[in-house]
């Protein structure tokens, strides 16, 4: 697990209080509306996301930047890679 700090995100997806499999569906929908190179910040309090989101990124060809632990949630950062117009493919959670 790669820990990061002070990453500047272009958009944020708040999934706090929402559980599996939302963390594997909504990032793809959000990234589909973003430009190549832009960074999405995913806020979640679901522990399963810490493993699921990096593997989802690998499978969908997105770049998983890392994770920052906040007071009440985790912040996971994803950079949209070239040619990924729609990252809707999902992996099992």
């Amino acid at each position: 697990m790669k820990f990061v700090k002070d990453i500047k995100a272009d958009d944020t997806l708040d999934l706090v209080c929402r559980m599996c499999p939302l963390h594997l569906l909504e990032p793809g929908e959000k990234l589909a509306c973003m430009k190549e190179g832009q960074v999405l910040e995913v806020l979640t309090d679901y522990d399963g996301a810490l493993e699921d989101i990096p593997s989802w990124c690998e499978k969908c060809g997105e770049e998983f930047i890392g994770i920052e632990e906040d007071e009440d949630c985790y912040k996971l950062y994803i950079r949209k890679k070239k040619g990924n117009g729609d990252g809707k493919e999902s992996v099992s959670g």
Partner: protein, 395 residues
């Protein structure tokens, strides 16, 4: 045919024919599960999105700010518990008015059993909340204020915008139970400034068992029902598609016809109030005289039992209520009437009329013809009325 006058539209309404027609295909032909990926399901998902947009449009919200629920009670539970649990780290104090529906009061009381504190806000003699009092009661650990837009029991409409402004300034979430208002008066969430708003299909003449919660975009809410991806993970469980279609259609029709409805029921209500106060002595008109729901009339009739009055009127084909449909069977003095300072003895004679577009002037004439002799008959049997009469004669 026997005359039937139904004036209990806050408790239940007949479903509109247009709504029934719209719903029917979703019981057999269009029965697919909206979460499935094949066309039978995906087209239901699209239909549900259309209904979400119609409900959102009725209250000035965005479609993604609407969560479908099983009715007003679930929407109120989701608002109170959803905020209470999601924002526990911020604080543990909740403020609700003393005249809320049981679904709000009991959700707040549930938190008292945990490590939360609840303040039950008092109201004036018309049932109005004082916004300045809300301001005084908010403290650093306050996370939520919940005040109904209007009371189904006394009809009073609250000054929500002012309270919403106070909550915004203090960084406190503001929820309103608008079950009594959405479908009866124009409601716009942005104008009101609320963060959450509950509504029910009943005043819109949608089926029972469907409602919705508006929650401002970006707001964190703990689900009551954990499950799958339905309602974006905020309410698990396969959706009540016929109910949702019914709510959407009813919302669309309500938006187009609301101003006519308001005019119609207000004229009938004014005639009813005038007639009752002229024809029956010792009657108190409860709630605010002006700032009240247009189709709502509530009274306390001295020296009789409201339950007996409701029962005897029903034998004449007139259907009314003693107060909240949920509470009236408990034979307990209404907490709402107690909160507005009605003496317990007088509160026993509570009777509430809630009108809809289905009502006519003839209905009101019929009530004004039948009600006074029924009251007279009940008072003839009442020892309280006998004492009152004897005391007046002695003077």
């Amino acid at each position: 045919m026997e005359k039937k006058v139904y004036l209990d539209n806050a408790a239940a309404t007949s479903v509109r024919k247009e709504v029934i027609e719209e719903i029917l295909p979703y019981f057999d032909r269009e029965f697919g599960n909206p979460s499935t990926v094949y066309d039978l399901g995906s087209r239901i998902k699209a239909v549900m999105d259309e209904q979400r947009a119609k409900v959102a449009e009725l209250i000035g919200a965005r479609p993604e700010e609407i969560i479908f629920t099983s009715g007003g009670t679930e929407a109120n539970n989701l608002a109170i518990k959803g905020i209470g649990f999601a924002h526990r780290k911020k604080g543990n104090h909740i403020i609700v008015s003393a005249t809320e529906h049981h679904s709000v009061l009991n959700s707040a009381r549930f938190f008292e059993r945990l490590d939360y504190e609840v303040t039950f806000l008092q109201v004036d003699e018309h049932g109005l909340v004082d916004p300045q009092r809300v301001k005084e009661l908010i403290r650093p650990e306050t996370i939520l204020v919940s005040i109904a837009h209007a009371s189904n029991e006394i009809g009073t409409i609250q000054p929500l915008s002012e309270i919403a402004q106070i909550c915004k300034e203090k960084g406190v979430f503001f929820h309103t139970d608008a079950v009594a208002t959405v479908g009866n008066i124009p409601v716009d969430v942005k104008e009101l400034g609320v963060d959450l708003l509950s509504l029910s299909g009943i005043p819109l003449r949608a089926p029972k068992g469907i409602g919705a919660l508006y929650f401002r975009k970006g707001l964190r809410l703990m689900p009551l029902l954990h499950g799958g991806i339905q309602e974006s993970g905020r309410r698990g469980g396969t959706e009540n598609v016929p109910g949702i279609v019914g709510l959407g259609k009813a919302a669309e029709l309500t938006r187009l016809e609301l101003s006519q409805k308001v005019k119609h029921v207000k004229a009938l209500r004014d005639k009813l109030v005038k007639g009752v106060l002229e024809k029956i002595e010792a009657v108190k008109f409860t709630g605010h005289p002006v700032n009240r729901l247009p189709g709502h009339a509530s009274f306390c009739v001295q020296a009789i039992e409201g339950e007996a009055l409701v029962f005897m009127l029903s034998s004449q084909g007139i259907y009314v209520n003693t107060g909240s449909a949920c509470a009236s069977k408990a034979l307990k003095t209404s907490p709402v009437l107690v909160a507005i300072g009605v003496p317990a003895e007088l509160a026993q004679g509570s009777v509430v009329f809630t009108l809809d577009t289905t009502n006519t002037e003839e209905d009101i004439d019929y009530v004004l013809e039948k009600l006074p002799p029924v009251v007279e008959r009940l008072r003839a049997m009442s020892p309280l009325w006998g004492k009152k009469k004897a005391a007046s004669a002695a003077h």
